[in-house]
Each structure stands twice: as structure tokens, then as C-alpha cells.
């Protein structure tokens, strides 16, 4: 038996992939892992709840949002632009690491994770949040609540969230332009 296939063209981390034939009904996480060799996104619950598998969907030039790849078919991403955890740090043309992103560095500095399984999801969620605050800053008094609302869907089973939330809060408060009240 052969599964029907569909052509998929997708831009991931600035690089265009495809068109490649993908079995219909395959979830995007399987395509990332098995077809494209991008194994950084983590499969957790498989039913869209834990958010370990999220990628960043660059919906247009201005807006980015999270999408769970474990419950979203590869076909959804046809013609779309996404970023995975592999594309968050800055690299040179040869792929050598130049610098971690501020979010990644903050998580390391604050010992935010232990086993690290949920970390790619948290990095992407925090990245999306910071990009949103660049467009629409919030008063610093609301940062704590804003961080909690943005990250609450992400499940972590070792460190109890506090250090993730602290790291993102501190990063936002320390980054000019993300809050809008006068210092």
C-alpha cells in the first residue's frame, strides 16, 4: 500500500525546502525529524497540549506566532515561513555558532531548565513574546502577568517554571523598548 503524497514547499530558518513529496496526513514534527533532519523540536504529548513541539510561524513581515507541530499537518505549512529551535541562535554562513539569542542566554544564565526536553518550546514561546513586545510594549508593572500568560501553555516537568518565567521577565525589563513606561 502506498500513501498518497502531497508536494510541500516551506521556508525554514530562512532556507527554502522543497518541493518534496510528503505522505498525506503526516504531522509537521515527523517531517522535521524524519525528512528534513531538523531534530531539535521535541515531540511530547502528541496531542497539542504540552507545546514542546512548537515552531514559530512568521505569518507576515510583522507577526509571529507559535504552532504545535505534533497536531498540525505538514500541508498546513506549504508556502509558509517558519523558524525552529535550530534557527534561533545567530550563525555564520558555514553554520558555526556566533551567539545565542538573548532568550537562550537568559535561560542558561538563570538555570531555567534541567532535563531540557521542553526548552525548545519555551525558547520559541519567549522569542514570540519578545517580538510581540517590540511591536506593542507593555507597562513594566504588567510584565510578570504578560510572561505568565504567554508561557502558561508550555508544560515543564522538572523545574517548576519559576526560573523560566524569571529569566524572561528579567530579560524583558532589561531590554529597552519592550516596556513603555518612563524609567
Amino acid at each position: 500500500m502506498t500513501l498518497p503524497t502531497r508536494p510541500l514547499t516551506v521556508t525554514i530558518n530562512g532556507r527554502r525546502y522543497g518541493p518534496i513529496d510528503v505522505a498525506e496526513g503526516l504531522m509537521m514534527i515527523d517531517v522535521l525529524h524524519e525528512v528534513l533532519g531538523l531534530t531539535g523540536s521535541r515531540l511530547g504529548c502528541g496531542i497539542g497540549i504540552c507545546h514542546a513541539c512548537v515552531v514559530i510561524w512568521d505569518r507576515d513581515e510583522r507577526t509571529s506566532e507559535e504552532v504545535q507541530t505534533c497536531i498540525t499537518g505538514a500541508g498546513f505549512f506549504d508556502g509558509k515561513r517558519i523558524r525552529t529551535i535550530e534557527g534561533i541562535a545567530r550563525r555564520d554562513d558555514k553554520g558555526n555558532l556566533l551567539a545565542l539569542s538573548p532568550v537562550q542566554q537568559a535561560f542558561l544564565d538563570q538555570f531555567s531548565f534541567q532535563c531540557g526536553y521542553c526548552t525548545p518550546g519555551f525558547v520559541n514561546a519567549a522569542t514570540v513574546l519578545i517580538e510581540r513586545l517590540e511591536r506593542a510594549p507593555v507597562p513594566s508593572a504588567q510584565v510578570e502577568a504578560t510572561v505568565a500568560a504567554a508561557l502558561e501553555k508550555h508544560i515543564c516537568r522538572c523545574t517548576g517554571y519559576v526560573r523560566y518565567y524569571q529569566a524572561v521577565r528579567d530579560l524583558i525589563l532589561a531590554t529597552p523598548g519592550l516596556t513603555r513606561d518612563a524609567a
Partner: protein
Amino acid sequence: MIVRRTGLRIVIITAVVLIAGVAATAFAMRNLWSGKTDGPVQVVSAPADVVARGKYLTEAADCAGCHTAPGGAPFAGGLAMPSGFGTIYATNITPDPDDGIGRWSAEDFWRALHDGIRRDGQQLYPAMPYTSYRGMPRADADAIYAYLMRRPAMKVANRTTELNFPFNIRLGMLGWNTLFLHDSLPAVSAGSSPAWQRGRYLVNVLGHCGECHTPRGIAGEMTSSLTGFALGRVAAPDITPGGLASRGWTGAGLRAYLGRGFARQGSAFGDMHPVIMLSTRNLTAEDLDAVAIYLLGDNPPPPAPLLATDATDSAAASEAGRMSYVALCAGCHGLDGNGVPNTVVAMRNNSTLRLADPRNLIVVMLDGIRAENFPHHASMQAMPGFSDKLSDAEAAALANYLRVIWGGQKGDVAASVVRTLR
């Protein structure tokens, strides 16, 4: 001649209205004069078996559904009920002497349930379903009273109703009651067995199912019994024998759904979820059976099989709808539509897909459903809403695909229907 006859009619009508007005005023005055606000705090002693029966009846009547606000103290009131006429707040029915019903006698309690009149003589609004509870025997009302009066008193003040003029005049309910308050509600099915009789009492009176499932007229009165109505965003579907059978419901399915919250035909969501958690899950096996027998009748209609989709319908279920299903739904509900047992409901044979009205299907696609816990430690995972991922046309195409493939319905949903539900 015609003029004179019309004149005579006007005189007669005016006289009737005047007499009715005077009678109503006199009746209201009698209620208000006999109404009480202070008085002794009632001390209720009732045998344990009466109190236990009162607890069961209180659950079957789902008093907590409205009189316990989410996160609030049991029976202390506070749930807001928005209506086309304004917002009504459920009251405190704990035995607190000042905020609750601590000074109410069993007679006062009976009058509220049976006639819709408060202890102070004022009219209740039919958000309190005395229209249904009117069929309750006095002994059952007294048992509920005995149970409630033995609950802990809660000092929670009642909120004032916020109704617009002229609906804020409680006296107006006298006319409403004259027109719409009946001693019993019509039977929804044919039957005569003892189980059917019991089911009629559980559904029409205690469960007050018609308050949501029966369409309401312009004055808020109940019309054709249990044929389905959208009081809120999620519509209460048609639960007549014909309506249920057309969506594949059987006695076994109804017993499972009301007893544990989900069945092969789907899981409870929206306003039906608390009904199951607070009320129907507590019914005995015999009473669940009685409810199912009454809803379907002593001779239940056979559940409608899913019709084989014909070529035109399949064409209507466009490729676009299928692609959206594969991209956004199949990850959990499965390419085969079978879902995941105890986690994700099946699309195949799903009652919501088999409704002729696409409203609930579209509302769920747009809003999602939060994670729900069910009796016996069962649960269903949260479903995300897809309002930001589906355009009106895409959502309509997806709804049509689901309706045609797994609902046996027509693929006739237009994008404009989705737009009005956003």
C-alpha cells in the same frame, strides 16, 4: 355597522383588560401584604432519610447549576444569567437569616417553586425555573427545603437584578404567569410505563431540561417542547425522540452521556458539562434509564444510520475542506475520524456533526473547547480554537466536509454563516 361592532369590541377588550388589571393588582397586593421580610429564623428538623432524599432531589433539580457560582460557596448564589431583557443573578439559598433563606418556612419555599413568588411577596423572574418546578409534589419540595436548610449558612449578599424597563417591574410577571405558567409541560414522547412516567418527572420538572432545550417566544415563554434553542453561544440541540434518533442517539448512548459525560456520540461541552457534573451524574441507574426512556419514548425510534454520501455531496465537501481537516484536525481526531479513546472525541457518528444546524460545529471550530474532567477520573483534552487559522471560506469548507463525510448532512454552509458566528 362595522364601525359600531368595532367600537363594541374595543369596549369589551378594554373592560376585560381593566378587570384583569384590577384582579392582578388585587392579587399582587395580597401577595405583597402577606409578604414578609423579617420573622423568626427557621430551625428545621427532618428525618435523615428525608434529608438524604432532599439531597438527591436537589442534585436532580440541579439547584447548584445556578445557585452556586463558579468558585463560589455552595448554594450561595451569584451566577449571572444574561438574557435579552437584562442580567439576573441567582440568589443565596443557604440558610443564612439575612442573605439566604434562613427565615423562609417550608410554605414560603413551596410558593417560590410552585408559583414563582418570593417570601416578600414579589414575583420571581422565570430565570428561576418555577415554570418547570411547578410540577413538583409538595413532599419533594419539602425534602429539598429540609436539605438546603441543613447546609452551612453562607453570608453572601445577593446581587440586584439588572433588567431594562419595563421588565424591571416584577408585577409584570403576573400577566406573564397568567399566559405562560402551566401546571404541567407537554410530553415529548409517547409512553405510559412507570419508567416513562418517572422520566417525564425527571426531565420536565426536576431536570428542567426545557428551560434551555425548548425554544422561547418573544416574551421568553417556552414554546415547542425540547426542539432545541440557542439561549447562549452553544445551542441546546433538539432532544425530541425524532431529533435524538436522527443523530444516532440510543438509550444506551443517553445513559452513558448523562451518567459519565461522554458516549460514542460525543462528549458534553458548553453549558451541558456542568449539568452533567452537578446533576445527571448523580442519578441512579434506574433514573438514568427513566430519563432515556422518556426522551425516546416507550417505543424508541431506531437510530438513523449514517447515509452513504452521494457524488454531489462529496463534491460539495470540497478538496479545500479535506485539506483543512488533514492539516488542522487529523492530528488528534485522526484521518479516519475515530479520535483517541478517552482523550479526543470521534468525528464519525458525532452528534454535533449530525445536527442540521451547523451552529455548534462552527462555534467549536472557532472557539475550541477547554479541557474537561468527567466522572470516574475520565477527561477530554483541550481543543484549540482555529478562528485565527481559518478564513470564513476555509471554515465553511471544513464544516461542509465534516458534515458530509461524518454527519450525513448537506454541505450547504456558506462563509457568511461563519462570519456571523465570529
